[in-house]
């Protein structure tokens, strides 16, 4: 280990190890980056920067990965062209490309074990923070920083102050990780964690599966967080067991300095929905205004994993399995591995029989770049992370964010519905 004095947070420790000096909150450090993630939405521009920087060779191709996820499949000449450009660059440089249909970049990084404890991960996608669930420091950057990391193998960081989020109490039945994550965003506020890292701790962390942790880390960026790191524990060990490289777990020191302590009590939480057009507009579904729903989207790097579809399917089946008239149910698994599992256990065929449109894995309808675009004035309920106006490609549509179970409940009734109705 490199210089690391006691009393550091997880983020400070990782940035110290990667910079070779003791990094304290506020220090600017140049770090070796372990994993560099690009997507079809960010790599084309990064390749342009790379070339303008005078780059000819990627510093270490084994640390760089591209995922063709946002335009999966490409629906225009331009997006097809971006893919060709990324493939050509990757082939020349020896960089691994995850093809269309293989999944969302940070989902791939976690489920294929590219991301592991102690790593410093940068991705040209804001939701790269999701990888914090595996005890890594993972953060989103733009295309120019991605290019710099490809070219030099390094990037500069200001070591962030850390907000410690203590999870206490126990979740009532029907309260999903998404509800906890929305409560966190609403508690911190849209820019409430700007420039800060989050560190999750507390007696209830053990009740959060790896998938649950991915949801909280994912939504952390909606509060502006730079990283959202979980401790290494038995839950993480179970996930890592199938991979050869399990990294080096990093824990915070006793007495590490936190800029703020936030206690998130799970006990009073209920199923919630984020109303348009900000993820922080969170209200209990039971108190939300009566709202007709026209489209239900089950997918994305927040809510497109196996457990999410199981939860949604359970609600749909308990409610009779018949979609409300006029509701369009769209299913886009986060990755081909998720899709494979759902195909094997019969989930996909059951959803298809109910009338769901099942699309190729990837980002799908999340940001309007692939898949189904809502029509004018439509209300969409989605398992995604952002409900900004026009996010799904139509500025007149309204997006509601909720758990997979709540999305499924709305699919049955055609309006915002507390999923506990189908418990």
């Amino acid at each position: 280990m490199t210089a690391s004095t006691p009393t550091q947070t997880i983020s400070e420790k990782i940035l110290s190890a990667k910079s070779g000096r003791t990094a304290r909150a506020g220090d600017v450090v140049v770090c070796d980056v372990d994993l560099v993630l690009g997507t079809d939405a960010s790599a084309p521009m990064a390749i342009g920067y790379f070339e303008r920087m005078g780059g000819t060779r990627v510093h270490d191709a084994s640390r760089v990965v591209f995922a063709l996820d946002h335009y999966s499949p490409p629906s225009s000449a331009a997006t097809k062209g971006f893919h060709d450009q990324v493939r050509a660059f990757a082939e020349k440089q020896g960089v691994r490309v995850y093809e269309i249909g293989e999944g969302i970049s940070h989902q791939i990084a976690v489920e294929r074990g590219l991301a592991h404890p102690g790593m410093l991960i940068v991705g040209a996608d804001s939701h790269t923070v999701t990888c914090g669930a595996v005890n890594a420091f993972a953060t989103g950057v733009g295309s120019s920083d991605l290019a710099a990391a490809m070219l030099t193998g390094q990037l500069w960081f200001r070591a962030p102050q850390t907000i410690r989020v203590a999870l206490v109490g126990s979740r009532a039945a029907g309260v999903a990780a998404k509800d906890v994550a929305l409560a966190m965003v609403s508690l911190l506020g849209s820019g409430g964690a700007e420039y800060h890292a989050l560190e999750f701790t507390g007696p209830s962390v053990q009740d959060f599966s790896l998938d649950d942790r991915l949801v909280l880390s994912n939504l952390a960026v909606e509060a502006g967080a730079k990283a959202a790191v979980w401790e290494a524990d038995a839950v993480l060990e179970t996930h890592l067991a199938r991979f050869a490289d399990r990294g080096d777990a990093v824990s915070a020191d006793q007495g590490a300095l936190y800029v703020r302590d936030v206690v998130l009590d799970l006990s009073p939480l209920v199923p919630t929905v984020a109303l348009p057009h900000l993820p922080e507009n969170v209200v209990p579904i039971s108190r939300a205004p009566e709202t007709p729903i026209h489209m239900v989207f089950l997918g994305t790097c927040t809510g497109g994993r196996v457990a999410d579809y199981h939860e949604a399917l359970a609600v749909l089946e308990r409610g009779g399995g018949k979609l409300a008239k006029g509701v369009h149910l769209v299913v886009t698994p986060a990755s081909s591995e998720v899709e494979r599992e759902l195909a094997a256990d019969g989930t996909l065929v059951k959803l298809a029989r109910m009338g769901a449109t099942i699309t190729m894995p990837g980002c799908g309808a999340c940001c309007g770049t692939s898949g189904v675009v809502p029509s004018d004035g439509m209300n969409v309920i989605s398992t995604a992370n952002r409900n900004f106006k026009a996010r799904m490609g139509n500025a007149t549509a309204s997006i509601y964010l909720a758990s997979p179970a709540a999305c499924a409940a709305a699919a049955l009734t055609g309006r915002l519905t507390d999923p506990r109705l189908f418990a």
Binding site: V141, S144, S190, F388
Partner: protein, 170 residues
């Protein structure tokens, strides 16, 4: 020392990068000269057409939140805007701005109104922002460290062309 005078273009809080330029526009081209006609269309469809070179974007808190897409910075520059004032910035936008030579200034923007003349003067002691209508003046410390070096070089491309790597300044 550099100085700039321009017209304030007033925006609110939480202007996310999808509002600055929609992902659905970026999907069709990365050419900022084309994309600039859709600048901030989700906020005001007439905005792009009303921009004059030299305008200063003036936002509330959390400007540039959401997606880390870099066109959100380059499209602002392509529209002829070189300075963004905000109460606070999302970090990915902040980095992207600096990396492209767009100057992000964190300052109190509460009293600035649409159309105010804003003057911005920078030297080694910092950056002074003046709203000429109210006379309100705020001095911001200079951007230190590597970020300052990158901005001084004109962006990350010229910086790395010169240095070949990130040079620790401390």
């Amino acid at each position: 020392m550099t100085s700039h005078r321009g017209r304030a273009r007033r925006l609110g809080d939480d202007i996310n990068t999808d509002y600055i330029i929609a992902s659905t526009r970026k999907k069709e081209t990365l050419d900022e000269k084309i994309l600039k006609q859709y600048l901030l269309e989700a906020v005001d469809p007439g905005f792009a057409a009303s921009v004059r070179a030299g305008d200063v974007l003036v936002a509330g808190a959390n400007f540039g939140c959401g997606s880390a897409m870099e066109v959100a910075a380059t499209v602002v520059l392509a529209a002829g805007i070189q300075i963004v004032l905000a109460k606070s910035f999302a970090r990915s936008f902040y980095r992207n701005a600096i990396n492209n030579g767009l100057l992000p200034i964190e300052c109190d923007t509460s009293d600035i109104l649409e159309g105010d003349t804003i003057s911005v003067e920078s030297d080694t002691s910092g950056t002074t922002v003046v709203d000429e209508r109210t006379g309100r003046r705020e001095l911001r410390p200079p951007l230190g460290g590597i970020a300052g070096e990158i901005l001084a070089a004109g962006g990350l491309v010229p910086y790395l062309k010169r240095e070949r790597r990130f040079v620790s300044t401390t």
